[in-house]
């Protein structure tokens, strides 16, 4: 019984107790290509707890394809923040994101036996992305011209560090940042579905090309043009709306 150093998953075929630690790395392990041992950004690493303390949630044991045991509620708690963000960036109506999350996690629970135990992040994100697609295509998401205004930071009652002006930040800079944020959100909505998903996965969520290809269930050759064209289109939108990119982002070479 050993731990795969690349994926961090327990490779033994025996049923494991939840007490096993299996940090889920975000390295893609695409069949046929060697896993990239590139930089692992710390914020992307998702770690499942050793044991389910059952304080925040009831214990929900599941088993993947190899027989490794997880507490599914622990998995949910590890991925729900990222998943919620992904859903919000994909859907025009943020209120729908909660339904997407609920539906995605229930689907993941039912389909967990099919998880091969390699990349839990890609697996969960794929389920969420597919649910977002279903919502968008079934027109359950509200059309772009919506009577409900997009929630802004000021509308959000929950205080959050990201929304409050930083100590070093002047009010003008804060306002500028807010404007940019809104512009980016609007710009993302203008993108086609697949390009939007590619840009959100790679640039907003920080996935690699290979992981994004896994989530989108396509090849890296398909992901690359989607990313580049999505970025270019967003850049053009920002330029067209006159939203000047903050000078501190400008760099030379």
């Amino acid at each position: 019984m050993g731990e795969d150093p690349i994926s961090g998953c327990i490779v033994s075929q025996r049923t494991l107790a939840v007490s096993q630690v299996h940090p889920v790395l975000l390295m893609a392990s695409v069949a046929g290509s060697p896993p990239q041992v590139a930089v692992i950004a710390p914020q992307l690493m998702v770690t499942l707890p050793k044991t389910c303390d059952e304080i925040a949630h009831p214990r929900l044991p599941v088993q993947d394809r190899n027989g490794a045991s997880y507490c599914y509620n622990c998995v949910i708690e590890a991925f729900q923040a990222k998943g919620y963000n992904l859903a919000c960036r994909m859907l025009r109506d943020w209120a729908m994101a909660e339904d997407v999350m609920q539906e995605s996690f229930v689907s993941g629970y039912r389909a967990f036996a099919q998880f091969r135990g390699v990349n839990l992040n890609a697996w969960m994100m794929r389920i969420i992305a597919n649910t977002c697609r279903d919502f968008l295509r079934s027109r359950r998401a509200l059309p772009f011209i919506s009577l409900d205004p997009m929630p802004t930071a000021s509308d959000d009652p929950t205080p959050s560090a990201v929304d409050l002006p930083g100590r070093e930040e002047s009010p003008e800079e804060y306002a500028e940042r807010e404007e940019l944020r809104r512009a980016i959100i609007s710009g993302l909505d203008c993108l086609p579905e697949e390009r939007r998903l590619a840009v959100v996965l790679v640039d907003v969520q920080g996935l690699s090309y290979e992981e994004a290809a896994q989530v989108m269930n396509c090849s890296t050759g398909t992901v690359k043009p989607r990313i580049s064209r999505g970025r270019a289109a967003l850049r053009d939108y920002l330029r067209a709306t006159g939203e000047l990119l903050p000078s501190r982002f400008r760099q030379d070479n």
Binding site: S160, I184, V200
Partner: protein
């Protein structure tokens, strides 16, 4: 595609990959060189880089609530949001659904074909020569055209039978197996020549009818007469047996006329028993008694040896109606058939013996197909139930 567009500027895809550091060394060098030369390309790269940075710095949205799944029923989900995960798929579920459906239909089709073949008399040995003229009219009672025809055939046969009965001494002479005789003997056992014989029987029946003017009511008598001599024929492997057949046949005729299927059998048996003084006759009686009631071939079961007795049982039911036409058919086939045809059926036992094994094989095959059909249908039903319960989960 190269890294440059038609204006010899770097393509956005190349710049994007350059930003992510995914270009190979050669292309990276080329891009860096071009960037040093072209301000427009530099501007492109900078704006792209700023866009990516803005995306990366997009603040995360706070989570409105926890999305962990409850295991207990909640007000929104009285039955609980989730149920236990489905158990590992059993072998029955792993096979595709269409396999079960096609297998079940194939097995059912095979079974239907076998049953219809059996019903059509293609497999019953008795259809070749059916002796039971006594029972034949009874079974043909339901009054379809075939039945009437068979009755006519039987009448024709009976016409032939009468002379047979009248001339028992000539029966002894019928040592030489004519077609008619040989056909009559293996009635119970023969499975071969189902259709041709039936057709021949039909023709013969017609010809017999033409020859004779016997009316239908009179058929029972001649049929019984035919039945009587037939059993006698089988029994009469020796002339001695033939001699004994005469009184037995007469009694059998009388009994057969008055009785229904089972009764005729027993009457024939009794008649045979009463008159049979030779071991052959007694064996025949025993055979008759062992046959299930309603069998036309009861009469000609007597004609066979002991081991043959049980054979015809399976094939008889479907043959009852055909037995009679077959018999006259065979008789008519030999123009030189003497009235005393059913005297000897020597040399037939070989054919007769082949019937039981084939009957058993047929029945076993039918049973197997029936079991297969039920099994696959059961598998389909099981899969349907599992899918239903899983979809509810």
């Amino acid at each position: 595609m190269g890294i440059f567009n038609k204006h010899r500027h770097l393509r956005p895809e190349i710049l994007s990959e350059y930003l992510d550091g995914r270009l190979d060394h050669r292309h990276q060098g080329l891009v860096a060189h071009r960037l040093a030369e072209c301000a427009a390309c530099r501007e492109e790269l900078n704006t792209l880089r700023a866009t990516v940075a803005a995306l990366q710095n997009l603040p995360d949205l706070p989570l409105p609530r926890s999305f962990t799944l409850p295991t207990a029923p909640t007000p929104d989900y009285p039955a609980g949001l989730i149920r236990k995960p489905a158990p590992p798929a059993s072998l029955v579920m792993k096979l595709p659904g269409w396999a079960y459906g096609s297998a079940a239909s194939l097995a059912g089709l095979a079974l239907a074909l076998m049953l219809s073949a059996e019903a059509a008399g293609l497999t019953s040995p008795a259809f070749l020569v059916s002796t039971a003229p006594a029972t034949a009219p009874a079974t043909a009672a339901p009054g379809d055209a075939g039945v009437a025809k068979e009755a006519q055939d039987e009448a024709g046969v009976a016409a032939k039978a009468e002379p047979l009965v009248a001339a028992p001494e000539r029966a002894a002479q019928a040592e030489a197996p004519t077609d008619f005789q040989s056909a009559e003997a293996p009635q119970t056992a023969q499975r071969s020549a189902a259709a041709p014989t039936a057709e021949a029987a039909a023709k013969i029946g017609e010809s017999a009818l033409a020859e004779n003017s016997l009316a239908e009511p009179a058929s029972p008598a001649p049929e019984a007469a035919l039945a009587a001599p037939e059993p006698q024929t089988a029994m009469a492997e020796s002339q001695g047996a033939v001699a004994a057949s005469d009184p037995a046949s007469e009694e059998a005729v009388a009994d057969a006329v008055a009785a229904s299927d089972p009764a005729s059998e027993e009457a024939a048996a009794d008649a045979a028993a009463a008159t049979a003084s030779d071991p052959a006759g007694e064996e025949g009686v025993a055979d008759v008694l062992s046959d299930p009631p309603g069998e036309d071939v009861t009469a000609f079961s007597l004609t066979q040896s002991d081991d043959r007795a049980t054979a015809p049982e399976d094939s008889l039911p479907s043959v009852q109606a055909k037995g009679t036409p077959v018999a006259p058919a065979d008789s008519a086939q030999s123009p030189a058939t003497e009235p005393k045809a059913p005297v000897e059926n020597l040399g037939i036992p070989a054919q007769e013996y082949s019937a039981p094994s084939s009957i058993t094989w047929w029945k076993a095959l039918e049973t197997m197909f029936a079991a297969l059909t039920l099994a696959f249908l059961g598998g389909l039903f099981y899969r349907w139930r599992r899918n239903r319960s899983q979809s509810d989960a």
